[in-house]
Symmetry: C2
Subunit: 262 residues, 2 copies
């Protein structure tokens, strides 16, 4: 059981920031990642479709006898987490709850901004999670659908990305937020630009927050050896490999699997 892997899934490549955070915090664990690259992105899809895809992805990881699943996709976490928890016999951890907890711990003014995909923002999941932890917090949300394609284009420290960030974040800054939750696993890759645009605002990185949550939940920890890492995708492309190398900073073979008939 301690040797069973931890499963992680995301709609694509962004969840690798969570894989990386887990690898750094829990180097002895075996990790298996699934990126649903044949159907990415989830952020513009409907509630029902996001649930269907999330169930299929978790079933796939179940076949690898995982002891826990981390839903490293904010969109899936926001829409499907409760259903996944009911359907499967292992713990399922999302990114929303740990991110919300960290935000409430960090904020002094109680004014918290949340940025994410259209579907994440529309679900209101971060707002609900934050307000249930501290009903006096005020939550301001903004969907930023261009950030993922800008990041996947590799325009990380870039003038255009900064201009897009200024436009998206202007209204949140006007509200006087002191904390900003990066509610999409891609966003830590443009932390530099976001810090420049949001001077004085603390950024909450959900990848780190969820890694700490997993550490807290694990009964046994193996620190004596280096765990294995596998990365599976539903569609293997050069694009994924390029971005995966950029995030992971180590070379890991990428394997393609069938997901349609799950």
């Amino acid at each position: 059981m301690p040797d069973s892997p931890i499963g992680i899934f995301d709609s694509g490549v962004g969840g690798l920031t969570v894989l990386k955070a887990l690898r750094e915090l829990l180097p002895g664990e075996n990790l298996i990642y699934f990126g649903d690259t044949a159907r990415v992105p989830y952020g513009t899809k409907s509630h029902r479709t996001i649930i269907r895809y999330s169930l299929q992805n978790t079933k796939l990881l179940h076949r690898f006898r995982v002891k826990m699943v981390v839903v490293a996709c904010n969109t899936s976490s926001a829409h499907a987490l409760e259903i996944l928890k009911e359907e499967f016999p292992f713990p399922v951890v999302g990114v929303v709850e740990p991110g919300a907890r960290e935000a409430v711990r960090t904020s002094k003014s109680g004014k918290i901004g949340v940025i994410g995909t259209e579907a994440t923002v529309k679900s209101g999941a971060y707002r609900k999670a934050i307000v249930s932890l501290d009903p006096f917090c005020q939550v301001y949300q903004k969907a930023c659908p261009l950030f993922v394609p800008l990041i996947e284009e590799g325009w990380l420290n870039d003038e255009i990305t900064r201009k897009v960030a200024e436009r998206y974040l202007g209204e949140l800054l006007e509200k006087g937020i002191d904390t900003l939750v990066l509610g999409c696993t891609h966003y830590p890759l443009i932390k530099n630009v976001l810090s420049q645009v949001c001077r004085g605002v603390k950024l909450v990185d959900s990848a780190n927050a969820v890694a700490k949550e997993v550490e807290r939940l694990l009964p046994a920890r193996n620190r004596s050896r280096r765990g294995s890492v596998r990365i599976l995708v539903s569609d293997k492309t050069e694009r994924f490999e390029r971005i995966a190398n950029m995030i992971m900073e180590e070379e890991i073979e990428i394997e393609e699997v069938e997901i349609d008939k799950e």
Copy 2:
């Protein structure tokens, strides 16, 4: 048979520019459109996956007894057209061939630029089609993966879109192109910005080119009445409806269908 609909498919919403061009040129025809919004975009996916999805989409349209299928997705046209032509008993028309023909007719210098998604550019389909029509043409290609999300964000006449266009198109303009093929059905929506950035360069809109090709192929034309239009999608979202209204400029009910098990 003349009453049988013409089927059109695209990975998402962009192909509606083709639907609109067909509706304008052939108002008497019944048209049925399928947008694979549950799996959009195709432009970053692999050759094999694009073929699989294109076959499933055409099968779906076949069920509606279409007399012809227009592949309104440049990515699918570039990768799957030949296979679709072999597999189905009706004519299958892609956007690449008509766009290439129009470009060759338009260009005086023989220096032609092509912009599209990563997968379209990588396939080299436009280059092949143009050079087979006129081996003296020189073709310069550039993938522009940010255009689709910018358009879907509604930033059509926009400073940021212009800056992105300047960066993408700079190298093509340096080559001295006199013609630019908009190798993605979304791109006609930012024609204004593209004309500003490419002064003196003729833009070839594949939506118009393919509509003319369909007109040429049709044996019987019904001009006496107004044909019907149906729009099907694999995932119905507000986002799709918003952009569909922007493109079509008329209200059409959008119906959701299952595609996974085709």
